[in-house]
Amino acid sequence: MSAETFQASGNIFTRTRGRSSLHPTDLLSYLWLLFGTVVMFGPVIWVLMSSFKTQAALIEFPPQFLPFQQDSVQVEGHDDPLPLYDVTLEDGSIRQLAQVRRVGIEAQMVDPDSPEEIVRVNIRQREPVRSLRLALENYIDPLGRFNFLIYLRNSVTVTVMATLITLLINSMAGFALSKYEFRGRDGIFVLFIATLMIPISVILVPVFLVITSLNLYNNLWGVIIPGAATPTGVFLLRQYMLTIPDELLDSARIDGASEWRIYWQIVLPLARPALAVLAIFSVMWRWNDFLWPLIVLSRSDVFTLQVGLHSFAGELKIQWHYVLAMTVLTLLPITVVFAFLQRFITTGIATTGMK
């Protein structure tokens, strides 16, 4: 596929050139894109904002978009700061008061400027005074509880090693299956394809048995290796390498290149778009993987980030304020990687054609 076909223009249904007037379908296109942007990004942004809210603000209804926190004020005669409220008094006027304590449905409040006089109000007559503030403790507290850097290092190790190994062995296999004639080739290919559809969650226990008998339990290699021979990758690369003309390989052979050299100096560079796609998918799979590492790893010094970040999910409650913050934290690296590589990724997938 050449670059020219990429740049062909047209509206939704056709590619008529040179029209400048806005056709109804163009308007619909933009509406669709606008709608799509809101639907695609909206939820992520909402979670991002929520992750900065306090526990109290999180359970509020209707929820606010921005993170608000109740103000408090230091009042003479009290050790801790007291929470501030807007209180509707009996005469209908509104005063800003600090709450000393609450007894039943009655709140005892004071004016911060004259702390001696106690005002008693029904708790329904008061509204918290709030201002915009980020609840950074949602991030700091859980991070203080475990060794974030160790988990990060493990996650990076797993992701990088697994992706490198996947790319190497998958491309070798794809090369062999697309460029050589040997007995059993089609059988091997069908075998790979046949397992393309089986999710690992249904053969969890047998794979676990293999891991323990190979002594890979509680070992990062036990996480890295099993998924490296992904049939999807072999399939993708083989299909792509089929499009590389055999003449290129033959002329290199005439020049005396070894088969290994042909593989890495001719075929691999030409298969770059497909390799890029596989790379990003491998990074995604490995970075996000939760179930498998959790089973293979039980020692916290080999935990990956996904396992570690879930470790505060207790028996008896979801601590939403932490869960949301940690979710944002795991999103961050992959979003940054995507921001840098989005051109390669999106055009990479587009140009592999997946045929």
């Binding site: 509020e60 329904r124 509880r145 959790l294 008896l316």
Partner: protein, 430 residues
């Protein structure tokens, strides 16, 4: 090529440097732990002190997620012989086959028998009467917590103020009255758990076992009576569907209760620590005695236990750590700082000096502790039954189907019995 050689050398160097420089005579023990509140920090602190005094032992805590780590992965790891040295578990009897009997190494086995009494039996296989495998990190009592402030605002009397014995129906009526007056969405809520359901069911007369000790739900009139009430409460809006219908495994109503959306919340004593943090004194939350029925006024006992694992290579060191943690002083401190009720007779008598300034929390702990003596024997028997989790999970999942209308109540009860029988058969080897 030169570049490559350099990189290889650097990589090798980094590898050599990264090899852990372990001191020679230190035994490293692994403890698999999960946390609901601050107990991981408290435990770490206690272990640090242990390590200061015992330089030959190092205990590493591996904090894992409860559902995926403790309930799902740990049993498979244990079955494959890849377990840790110690673990905090809740399926006490179900995993009993994997525990270490510490008796040979214990300096004072009588202390354990005296202090933990019957709860040691929860950790034993059927037929075992002697083994000491661990100790409960906390004793839990299930029971209702109400939002008294809502009652006051609605001007409805709290039923338990006037009478020591209030039926479930009376509580439901009162809670509905409050909810109607104040437009509160959920009069009542119950944790999504067969264990939570068991207390009310036994109060209605459920037996849970036949004469031979086989768990029997089919034909249990008391169970059916409570189940019928329970399903109807979901249909008429007394209880929120989102807790039971739209979840897998355990689910609580903490947020709804903390947000004053629930009047009456059937949960348990472990909530005290969390409510102290989350609610504080924003409203008056109060523990009330378990409601009554034909079979009594009971909740369920329960708890998590720290157990020693049989596959450990260092049974002696494990026992030393366990002895330290189970000692009256240390367990007392653990309970005081986590606001957990200890399952320790000495501490129960002397009382734990809970570290909270909040009267609401103190009152709640006192009320829960006082209920230990009022629990029915059936409740203790059910908790001590090694495969109780099969019964709990089957009743939870099948009652859910009855609530959403996939099964009639009778079909659901029939399915509960089938699930129990099939899983017990699998356990016996098909």
């Amino acid at each position: 090529m030169r570049q490559f050689a350099m990189v290889t050398m650097l990589a090798t160097l980094a590898l050599v440097l990264a090899l852990p420089g372990m001191a020679q005579d230190v035994v490293e023990l692994r403890m698999t732990w999960y946390t609901d509140g601050n107990e991981d920090e408290v435990m770490r602190d206690l272990l640090d002190r242990f390590e200061m005094e015992n330089s030959d032992i190092r205990v590493v805590m591996d904090n894992v997620p409860y559902q995926a780590g403790i309930l799902e992965a740990l049993p498979v790891q244990l079955e494959a012989g890849e377990g840790p040295d110690m673990a905090r578990v809740t399926n006490l009897g179900g995993l009993a086959g994997f525990y270490l009997d510490m008796s040979p190494w214990l300096s004072d086995p009588a202390y354990w028998e005296d202090s933990f009494g019957g709860t040691l039996g929860w950790l034993r296989l059927a037929g075992d009467t002697m083994g000491i495998h661990g100790f409960p990190t906390q004793l839990t009592i299930t029971g209702p917590i109400i939002n008294r402030t809502l009652f006051e605002q609605a001007g409805v009397a709290v039923p338990s103020d006037a009478s020591a014995q209030v039926t479930w129906e009376e509580w439901a009526a009162a809670a509905n009255e409050v909810a109607d007056a104040l437009e509160i969405p959920f009069p009542m809520a119950m944790d999504r758990s067969g264990h939570r359901f068991a207390g009310p069911a036994i109060s209605m007369g459920a037996q849970y076992f036949d004469g031979e000790g086989h768990p029997t739900i089919a034909g249990d009139e008391g169970f059916r009576a409570m189940a019928e009430l329970f399903v109807n409460w979901h249909l008429d809006g007394t209880m929120p569907l989102e807790i039971w219908a739209a979840n897998t495994g355990y689910a609580g109503a903490n947020e709804e209760f903390g947000n004053s959306q629930v009047v009456f919340y059937m949960s348990g004593s472990w909530q005290v620590g969390q409510f102290t943090d989350q609610i504080g004194d924003a409203f008056d939350w109060e523990v009330v005695p378990n409601p009554c029925g034909a079979g009594g006024c009971t909740g369920m006992p329960g708890g998590a236990a720290l157990v020693a694992i049989g596959d450990t290579e260092h049974p002696e060191e494990v026992t030393r750590v366990m002895e330290y943690l189970a000692s009256e002083e240390i367990l007392g401190e653990f309970s005081a700082r986590t606001l957990f009720i200890p399952a320790h007779k000495g501490l129960a008598t002397s009382g734990v000096d809970f570290e909270t300034d909040l009267d609401l929390a103190m009152n709640a702990l006192v009320t829960f502790t006082a209920q230990v003596g009022t629990l029915e024997q059936t409740a203790f028997d059910l908790q001590a039954y090694p495969n109780s989790r099969i019964v709990f999970d089957a009743s939870r999942d099948r009652l859910t189907q009855a609530i959403v209308g996939e099964l009639t109540l009778d079909q659901a009860i029939e399915r509960i019995q089938e699930d129990i029988d099939e899983q017990l058969a699998e356990l016996m080897g098909g």
